[in-house]
């Protein structure tokens, strides 16, 4: 279910690394917990994201959730589709619903993120508690 080539955070973001570019999104588990996404607020291109700090917001009908940057870098591209079609986040969280792409400053930060297996175990434990 969770792509093995991605890395994951405890805040339910996923990261896909391609050279020194990281694509960031929220996981299927996150979109399921949020419910119908109706609004996405993303940073502008060129802004610096700081690992562990909020870079945007996803709103469902019922709630507002901050999205935290898994890694430090500069925003290279944002997913414009989400402005008019926020529901893409529910329909395709791991592909068409990506949020932003950043140019990484320090690739070694990736090592601190969870593998798909570790993330699956993490959400299983969260469900039980």
């Amino acid at each position: 279910m969770y792509p093995s080539e991605f890395r994951y955070t405890k805040e339910h973001e996923w990261v896909s690394i391609d050279g020194d570019t990281a694509t960031i999104g929220i996981t299927d588990h996150a979109q399921d917990q949020l419910g119908d996404v109706v609004f996405v607020e993303l940073p502008t291109v060129g802004v610096r994201t700081q690992a562990m700090q909020s870079f945007g917001t996803v709103e469902s009908v019922k709630a507002v959730s901050d999205i935290y940057a898994p890694l430090t870098g500069q925003v290279a591209e944002i997913n414009e589709t989400l402005v008019d079609k926020p529901e893409t986040l529910n329909e395709s969280p791991h592909e068409d619903g990506w949020l932003i792409k950043i140019k990484l400053e320090d690739k070694s930060q990736v090592d601190s993120l969870m593998t798909a297996e570790a993330y699956q175990a993490y959400i299983d434990a969260e469900k039980e508690s």
Binding site: D36, F39, T57, V61, K62
Partner: protein
């Protein structure tokens, strides 16, 4: 699941938008057993209920209900409630889940009458069947002629062969019924209604859709639009205040407020800029903080971002342009008449 006044309640089943639209277009089923019930009986049951609530209890006939409130002497809300007249010496109050103990203690403390107050919540589960196909759905399970029950009336009948209070009431802005049965019958009734509504596309609905439906319909929720600091006049619920009926709790304060005029009032807002106003967000006129959003959300049927807000009286006119602080941004909004949605009758 969320904890709601000690109850584990689903916020949503399949999704708030789908559930909301099912109620607007067909039928939805809500388990609202968390709502509280208080029964008042005795030779002076009428006198007690008429003393603690502002609406004219004398106008109720057996089998009739009305929207009302429990008010403090200051005219502010203990709770908002439904009063059902079961008989000349028997009234049945439906109250908010999170207020039920407080309400019961408040009523007891005001009971200087020959009346008995019973905390009856454990005796009932309540299911709400709401939407244009609600009566057809429930009609399959009862001999009671549901269409003959007028809006805000109720009857004691049988559903699935067990005793039930069937009321033509609801909190969604749609036609429908609220049914009270004994807890042991709840699960069987839920399953039977789901089956009866299947051909209409019935959906189980959670607290999320209950909230968006009542918000589109401009209805108040305790702890948001109304609380122990807000009066019915401020909440635009002056129609439940019957000053001419004689003395009742809060009357003196309300007479004074009515004479002086309210300084703030609940209004509807439509977000005209990109952003969603949420509960507690501040409302601005230029750079002046003038009030707050009491409830705000996307309206799934009206397809607009809507809110109710408490604003000064001079900023409450329809068409007034204001701004809502959404995190670090100001988003334009416009005062609009409520309800945002009303069904075609």
């Amino acid at each position: 699941m969320v904890d709601f006044g000690g109850w584990d309640m689903p916020v949503e089943y399949a999704g708030i938008i789908d559930e909301h639209l099912a109620v607007r277009k067909a039928v939805g089923l809500f388990d609202v057993s968390h709502m509280g019930e208080i029964e008042i009986r005795g030779p002076q049951a009428f006198d007690l209920v008429n003393h603690i609530t502002p609406n004219a209890v004398s106008r109720l006939e057996d089998g009739q209900a009305h929207y009302s409130a429990l008010l403090y002497p200051l005219g502010t809300f203990v709770d908002d409630i439904l009063v059902h007249r079961m008989g000349p010496e028997h009234y049945f109050l439906c109250v908010n889940a999170s207020n039920q103990e407080k309400d019961y203690e408040w009523i007891q403390s005001q009971n200087a009458f020959d009346a008995e107050v019973e905390f009856a919540s454990p005796k009932y589960v309540q299911l709400a069947v709401q939407g244009p196909r609600a009566l057809e759905t429930l009609g399959k399970l009862t001999d009671t002629d549901l269409a003959a029950i007028r809006y805000y009336w109720f009857t004691r009948g049988e559903v699935l062969g067990v005793p039930a209070i069937i009321a033509r009431t609801g909190y969604t802005g749609e036609d429908g019924c609220e049914i009270y049965v004994a807890p042991d019958d709840g699960e069987r009734l839920w399953n039977a209604i789901m089956e009866a509504g299947e051909e209409f596309g019935i959906k189980p609905c959670g607290l999320g859709a209950r909230n968006t439906l009542r918000l589109e319909s401009g209805m108040s929720l305790y702890g948001h639009e109304i609380d122990d600091r807000i009066t019915p006049y401020e909440a635009r619920l002056g129609w439940i205040i019957k000053l001419k009926k004689g003395d009742f709790l809060g009357r003196d304060a309300l007479i004074k407020q009515k004479a002086e005029g309210v300084t703030r009032r609940l209004v509807g807002l439509e977000m005209t800029g990109r952003g969603i106003g949420r509960d507690g967000y501040r409302v601005f006129d230029g750079d002046k903080d003038i009030g707050w959003i009491t409830s705000g959300s996307p309206g799934p049927f009206v397809e607009k971002n809507i809110a109710l807000a408490m604003l000064p009286i001079d900023k409450g006119g329809a068409g007034t342009e204001v701004a809502v602080q959404v995190r670090n941004r100001m988003v334009e909004a416009r005062v609009t008449p409520t309800p945002f949605y009303s069904r075609k009758k």
